[in-house]
Symmetry: C2
Subunit: 267 residues, 2 copies
């Protein structure tokens, strides 16, 4: 969809000079369209390039966990994030992280005692909320909990395709799969429904926040859940998540895979 929008916009811009050229063309030459080369205001391009650099720098700071907790994306990077999320950038990054995780998963020698575990987060890791965020300015709006809950309850978030492939691959290799999400127990039903609809199955355990976890930061809650897995004898060999709070803390995985997400931050 974004591609055809881009193409439309593109064609429109291409035709603009032709439209204006009619006005200034001497009537004698009107038979041949004059090649209008004065095109597009150059200074804005320089600004654009400068802005692209600044926003790329912001994205890297966000993705490497260098930023303090943030509530919205920078205003100036709204268009940048939109282009990234709806264009090839996000898609390429998702593919690469799953490929790298897949190479690693294949390289691990499993013990075969059923205690080799891989953890997946859900939102922006297995399931994509991009349809929701496309309607909410890709992170420029402050997170609206009730609105997002409504979206979650529709159970219609699509799979992130490379994540689905990785998911199936690690299952096939013999890992136990744990889904560890910040979603709450009240959403267990819709979450299972959504996961199944999107093609995910055969997970070992789906762990959601219970009421006593509400006050905890994600890092704390997820660390506790990983601690429990380790106590139960699991070896956490892989962990996929779009937030550093999925990956850091105690009982960290042997390898962690950070999926891209420049739209929101969870502590």
């Amino acid at each position: 969809m974004s591609l055809s929008l881009f193409r439309l916009f593109f064609l429109l811009l291409c035709f603009l000079p032709l439209a204006f050229s009619e006005d200034s063309a001497p009537s004698s030459d009107a038979s041949l369209p004059r090649p209008l080369i004065i095109e597009y205001p150059q200074p804005s391009k320089a600004v654009d390039e400068e802005l692209r650099l600044r926003c790329t720098s912001w994205r890297f700071a966000a993705e490497t966990n260098n930023l303090s907790p943030w509530k919205t994306i920078p205003q100036e990077c709204a268009e940048y994030v939109k282009v990234y999320m709806t264009g090839e950038g996000y898609s390429l990054d998702l593919q690469r992280v799953s490929e790298e995780a897949g190479f690693y998963a294949k390289s691990v020698e499993l013990s075969g005692d059923g205690k080799d575990a891989w953890i997946f987060d859900i939102d922006e890791t297995l399931l994509s909320n991009l349809p929701y965020y496309a309607n909410h300015l890709f992170g420029l709006e402050v997170f609206d909990h009730p609105e997002f809950d409504k979206w979650v309850e529709r159970a219609s978030a699509p799979a992130i395709p490379p994540s689905l492939r990785l998911y199936e691959q690690v299952l096939q290799l013999g890992f136990k799969v744990f889904l560890l999400t910040g979603r709450t127990e009240k959403h267990r039903g819709v979450t299972v429904e959504n996961l199944i609809n999107a093609g995910f199955q055969n997970w070992d355990k789906l762990i959601l926040r219970s009421s006593e976890d509400y006050v905890k930061l994600a890092t704390e809650y997820k660390s506790e859940k990983r601690d429990e897995m380790v106590k139960e004898g699991y070896r956490i060999l892989g962990n996929s998540g779009d937030q550093w709070s999925d990956l850091l803390g105690s009982a960290m995985s042997a390898r962690s895979f950070k999926l891209p997400n420049p739209m929101y931050y969870i502590s």
Copy 2:
């Protein structure tokens, strides 16, 4: 640069319809100079943009620690890495990470008992080896230990200016500063000389690898040294490094700051 590429590509596409319209134009109009449009080889431009996306994706994967240990940058990204390192990109990223670290440092309430610590790595964190890597294809060459040692022994690596500012800021705030480097004890002299020449002073301790540390991975060696600091009662509140092996492991800092480095990887 990519912007002007985009502009070129754009103009080219805009003129394409005109080019084709010529075929059907009556020959009597040949008196008017024909707009010569096909000026730039189109495929390479499109390839460039595609390549920029792929290499940005590779850099994201490298900087978020998603890649398996790697020995050289991808051949296809040689030019991309060079442009990033010598252009505004690297410089902007360095500035941002030090700014973020500075905001955090100021926000921390220090105990005042002299046990609040900030750790800095040295190479590509306080000192820049860019003059060396500029002569060694910015990471496209496999690391040449003897050659690099010669460079280290010249003690002429410049400071990374935003890191020097951060360094002075955290000292002034009252942090104890520890320098924790993968360099070996035999380079203590030249390292101190280089640091002083570049403007660094008043560190509390400079920790280098002793002979028993040679066999250890950086993550292991640096974790052990942090464990010792904690045993001595230090609270590690900040840690700046260009490698994840500076930051991950045991006794991790309350906040870690990952400086950019797409040129090499240390386990």
